[in-house]
Symmetry: C4
Subunit: 234 residues, 4 copies
């Protein structure tokens, strides 16, 4: 069942340690088959070097396990809410990557200080508010997803233009057109978190980049007038 | 004698360089057989790539060497005191891991700024006071262990809920249910030390996480209602 | 066509991930054949581990593609302007290397705080001003190259004595006698960016090195009286 | 001639990239045969992966090349002065290792903030003053060595108790009983530079460790009452 998608989700999960985005089992990747209304996700707490494509768990959008011998990631309800709220996304990633999580712990979004950021994220990567006591105690992971979706709605941000977020005191969620693209965005978010950290130390009066430069770089890579990369590539 | 335990202690020691927690021979792991009242520990000053399971040293809880051709780690008396004071622990680790030791040198415990920390340590990782001249000059390593145990008693902390500590101006001790688990906690302590360092720079007014979030994350992984990981795993 | 140069440009591009100067495809190297008036550059958005020497693109100095099945790097017009303005250079590199780009995002040049810097760069590595809205919207990459050349002219800097620059809010360009040398300078610029970042934190009243020490180290490696290295080496 | 020593010096040089202490050719190791009054040093500007034991250069203590087809390291006169001034040392290392050089650029010695430092260096690692214009222009490398020796004499420091130094605006020299031991000390100096950098940020009111703790740790590893390591080891 969904063998091709399981393989892709497995491979995308294996990119997390390759890119240095996880310690131990602190991350998970999923991807959705929109037609079937099913998504595939990493099992909970399984070590990366022991995992196989067959260990991936198939879930429906009501949160029921449809196939798989293992329990799904404990963050599964967050992935589910993101798939429901953001209809264009095909893959979701959760990590505690080191620099981005440092910003989340500080309760701050990552400002756009350069074109590395602007190439992938159209403006600040927001930091979603801490959950309330009630949200934490009942359906914590589900409420995490709802809070992310509400924050994007409140700020009027297109989730495809800002394909990632920080959750205060917690960590990182990113997404993309598929599992591999979501992991790519997780690696970019970590790198821009790293550079923004240092840039603020080097210049306490630093300002975000101009909207002209933001537009130029973002639309150089995205949309009808994009001219970065090869036209024949996917 | 204790061949299985020696192998596990050897393997746990070899994880220290693998996880980047030691330079040269600056670390050691031990594990205890509670029934026999004996513990196995790394020899002193032997390089990791020359070490074998047979080099491990067997000690009793009076500090006598029971088996082994080499001298035990000079930190052996600290391990011994921890085994005596913390009856539930099965393994102990000592490192000078780079970020955690930076906190120890600063004389500060590591505050809980996020769920990465909360998943493993229930609250701040304390920094034990500097020893007195008398404590340093006579039985320094033993007094290090006694001071750790006293600090946990004074603060009313369950050592299984906060499985690690800093020793002022010195380094890190962690523990766990066995040798491998103690090393796991040493890697987590280093990672949370790293992120807390950056989070304070990013937000000088940072506050520790709420007790609600602390409880949620800790009890998601520990105790009767844990739901992280696979039920069939150890 | 230019097979030898393509191979050298390919090999120089492969040094970027080897030296840790790029994430994904965020960098490119070119080299010029001055006699033929042609330069060879990396294709746009192709992953390093899939690239071959045959993928390199040959361009003329009017910006026309002369050979190659792929599109050239989107930064090609910047390379071209640098070849036109700096007649002695044989290779150009663009990266978003992590520390140097942090300085660019802060809008600051890298001051010369030590002999590591002085050995390769005669004085501060300048940070070129942000482009205007007009410069960004029309011919952005070409205007980036023009702004670099104008800044060097304005400051009266010999581009062979300061073989690199920062572009505000963007990243790094370096150059050299050939592609490999330009990559070498990119690695040095990243390392001095890293050390200068820390030195300022360690001493907020830090000053740049004396002109005597600058001269000694620079001319120890460059010019008629150089005595570093082997006389028989290239 | 001195084949055994050449091999040891070669192997010690190869440890510099292994321990991450050098970029490119920015470091060199030498060792002395006190009976013959000759020392062996790395050639100048040769890449580590192309170097062989036969490339090592033999020098006498008057600075004459006694054997070797290549030119010796340009830092040779500094090594020579250190061998003349510090009679107990058997090996010398020069690096621009990243954190230690950041302190040198800041013009600051590395204070002893913990036992990692105290285990190897008895007190602060001093930063030698910048040289004068005259000292730089004539016999720069020789004067670097003389300034180091004078500073140790002025401060009354035993070079075997503090086996390393920083040179302001420049980099690191360390030494030891032989080439391998000098490299070991270079790795330790880099690690303590790294931790001291962070400890100061974590606690701006940080103080150096007590003399009691300094004594305990230093003499645990050195001198007649040392008890770290195996008695049978070299």
């Amino acid at each position: 069942m969904l063998e091709e998608l399981k393989k892709k989700v497995y491979e995308a999960n294996m990119l997390l340690p390759k890119y240095g985005l996880v310690l131990f089992t602190w991350g998970n990747v999923s991807a959705i088959d929109r037609e079937k209304g099913l998504f595939v996700i990493k099992p909970s707490g399984v070590e990366y070097d022991k995992m196989t494509p067959d260990d991936m768990v198939v879930m429906d959008l009501d949160g029921n396990k449809v196939e798989g011998k293992l329990s799904p990631s404990s963050d599964t309800p967050t992935h589910l809410e993101l798939y429901k709220a953001f209809e264009e996304i095909g893959g979701v990633v959760h990590t505690h990557s080191s620099y981005a999580t440092s910003w989340a712990q500080a309760g701050r979004g990552i400002p756009c200080y350069g074109t590395t950021h602007a190439d992938y994220f159209y403006g600040e990567i927001p930091c979603v508010r801490a959950l309330t006591k009630e949200e934490i105690e009942a359906d914590y992971e589900k409420n995490t997803g709802i809070a992310i979706a509400e924050e994007f709605k409140r700020l009027g941000i297109d989730p495809m233009a800002v394909p990632g977020v920080l959750c205060q005191n917690h960590g990182v969620f990113t997404w993309g057109k598929d599992a591999a693209n979501a992991v790519h965005n997780a690696a970019v978010e970590e790198e821009v978190a790293k550079m923004a950290f240092r840039s603020e130390i080097l210049n306490p009066k630093i300002d975000v980049i101009s909207s002209d430069l933001q537009d130029k770089h973002y639309f150089r890579k995205h949309g009808a007038n994009a001219y970065y990369g090869q036209k024949t590539e996917e």
